[in-house]
């Protein structure tokens, strides 16, 4: 089908309109320089930091990947999940069991974790994504608690409430990684690959369809998309990436507890996504860094008041940065998003 262009003079209104402010992005070169600098700093961490700090940064990286996988659901697809730690936990237990009973080859364990996370999410997702809003929240909460309870009660497999401990250290090509630095580099490499995967999904036409479903599911249906399929695939993918993060976690801390699959972990990650700015991927990664630092590093020095500090940080963040850290970057670019008028849209 070809539609001829009409002469411009038929639309004086459009011609007279001020030239649209094209979305301003920082220059490509600047973004590239920043990315390379960040990579260099991240890669250099074990060389300059002590093992404890290196370990903390490793955990930040793992939780950053976890938060980004949740952002695929919350920010991109508009499905706020309260049970996302279930897939993290499934991945962590899978990696722990694989390396205890079979092989602790790093790539095998994390890939097994990712596959297990995706399969577990796919097994329950067909039910969860049929609902939306509060119902989705409640269903994912229930699924998360189910996985948590399974981890508690299947003590012959998971170690029950003692946790799954004694996980051997990660091997790469048969050599165990005993130094914190090598483990860190392994974690960094897998997290970067995972982040690249998530970015590709977000930037693809599939990602565009997910954003379309988030904004206006009814319209997507009338364009010929079946939202269920897209949401289901997004749910399974997010589960897979969360499982990948869980597998790294098991290799890193070498003990998995039922609480790693529980509600608190899910809620903390949701907090990280909101804190960082849902829908941007890099924002939630920063949010995860804040959450891990406040909870694990500053928390223990406050005589058990870590959660209180986290709560205060969250309240302040919601007031000061309603769009999260990522929203701050938008403001600096002078790209103020227009406020969405919520009233003139007919319900779909």
């Amino acid at each position: 089908m070809s539609v001829q262009s009409l002469p411009a003079e038929t639309a004086p209104g459009a011609a007279a309109a001020p030239a649209a402010p094209r979305r301003r992005r920082p220059p490509r070169a600047l973004t590239a320089v920043l990315a390379v600098a960040l990579l260099a700093v991240l890669a250099a961490v074990p060389l300059v930091a002590d093992p404890f700090s290196t370990n903390t940064v490793s955990r930040i990286l793992v939780f950053a990947l976890f938060a980004m996988s949740l952002d695929l659901l919350v920010g991109l697809t508009g499905l706020p999940s309260l049970g996302h730690a279930a897939w993290f936990g499934v991945g962590a237990y899978t990696a722990g069991l694989v390396s205890t009973h079979w092989t602790s080859e790093g790539l095998v364990t994390v890939l097994a974790a990712a596959v297990a996370g995706a399969l577990a999410a796919a097994a329950t997702g067909w039910l969860a994504v049929r609902s939306g809003g509060v119902y989705f929240l409640m269903l994912t909460l229930a699924i998360g608690e189910l996985v948590h309870q399974l981890a508690q009660s299947l003590s012959s497999v998971t170690g029950g409430s003692n946790g799954l401990f004694g996980i051997p250290s990660i091997r790469v090509a048969g050599t165990p990684l005993t130094l914190a630095g090598y483990v860190y580099w392994f974690v960094l490499a897998v997290v970067l690959l995972g982040a690249l995967g998530l970015w590709l999904v977000a930037a693809s036409p599939f990602g565009a369809a997910l954003r379309g479903i988030r904004d206006n599911e009814g319209r997507m249906r009338s364009l010929g998309y079946s939202p269920f399929r897209y949401k289901y695939l997004a749910f399974a993918l997010a589960g897979g990436f969360a499982g990948l993060a869980g597998g790294l976690f098991a290799g890193l801390v070498r003990i998995v507890n039922p609480s790693d699959a529980g509600f608190t972990t899910s809620a903390l990650m949701l907090l990280a996504v909101v804190l960082g700015g849902a829908g941007t991927l890099w924002g939630p990664a920063l949010g995860a860094a804040v959450v891990v630092l406040v909870r694990d590093t500053f928390g223990p020095t406050l005589e058990g008041h870590g959660p209180l500090l986290l709560g205060l940080v969250f309240i302040v963040a919601v007031y000061v940065l309603p769009r999260g850290v990522a929203g701050l970057a938008d403001l600096r670019r002078g790209r103020r998003r227009a406020v969405l008028p919520g009233t003139d849209e007919a319900p779909a």
Partner: protein
């Protein structure tokens, strides 16, 4: 007359005691420019929803190009070539004009499963053409939430055309457009190839009579009359239907002040 592209037979839809669409039988031949008019509450928008599948019929059948599509879901019917603009703009507000049209275009250009953004060249090219056609080439990078009402209507039309429809349903496409914008829309719709069948609901009768080759008048959910534009203008039954709403001057050729009441 060629075989009907859209064929409705005995289509009925009730909401409780209210029958919004009552036993509508209607054939729209392929390539037609068919207008659907009637007073407010005549069931025009409901009828559109029954055709697209957004609502299920209570009785009757909907056939597209000879195939019964009554049991198909809305996305399935859309994939068979039904595309629409809605009475109230229904867009993806947080996204740019280009992204909105691209969402429709990418489905047509077989790129929706590609993970590599570069593969979307064909869909992007088509999006650029369409935005130029509807007069929004300059606004491609603007978030839809920042557009005026008239501009959003233009995006709606671009999105609907990006589906490369065989049946295009336009629900008051010119509502809220400036006269210049609505003239541009009419020009654009007139250039659509004969492979696209257009059914249009519109209160602006200038638009209707500039486009339509046949007109169906709905009143209280029933078909009052189907005919060519001149028959409809002349029909006393149609004038009766509108009389109750005080718009008797609608069908007079005199472009007097009464025209402004329309819509």
């Amino acid at each position: 007359m060629s075989a009907p592209l859209l064929s409705l037979s005995g289509v009925t839809r009730s909401f409780g005691a209210l029958t919004a669409v009552d036993d509508v039988t209607l054939d729209v031949p392929a390539g037609a420019r068919h207008a659907l008019i009637g007073p407010n509450g005549a069931g025009k928008s409901t009828l559109f929803k029954l055709v697209t599948g957004a609502l299920r019929v209570s009785a009757g059948t909907v056939a597209l190009a000879g195939d019964d599509v009554t049991r198909l879901s809305e996305p399935q019917r859309a994939r068979r070539g039904i595309s629409q603009t809605l009475q109230h703009s229904s867009l993806f507000l947080s996204q740019t004009v280009e992204q909105n049209v691209l969402l429709a275009a990418q489905r047509q250009h077989r790129s929706r499963h590609s993970l590599v953004p570069r593969r979307q060249a064909a869909a992007r090219e088509r999006t650029r053409e369409l935005l130029a056609d509807v007069g929004l080439a300059e606004r491609a990078g603007t978030p839809v939430a920042a557009l005026s009402h008239g501009e959003r209507r233009q995006v709606e039309v671009a999105v609907a055309l990006a589906c490369e429809p065989t049946l295009l349903l336009l629900d008051e496409p010119a509502a809220g457009m400036s006269p210049a914008e609505s003239a541009r829309l009419v020009g654009l719709l007139q250039t659509l190839p004969g492979s696209v069948t257009v059914v249009i609901v519109e209160h602006d009768l200038d638009v209707v009579f500039a486009l339509a080759t046949s007109v169906t008048v709905l009143h209280l959910g029933r078909v009052l009359l189907t005919g060519d534009p001149d028959e409809v203008r002349a029909s006393t039954a149609v004038q009766q239907a509108y009389l109750g709403t005080g718009r008797e001057a609608l069908f007079l050729d005199d472009p007097g002040p009464s025209r402004t009441e329309v819509g």
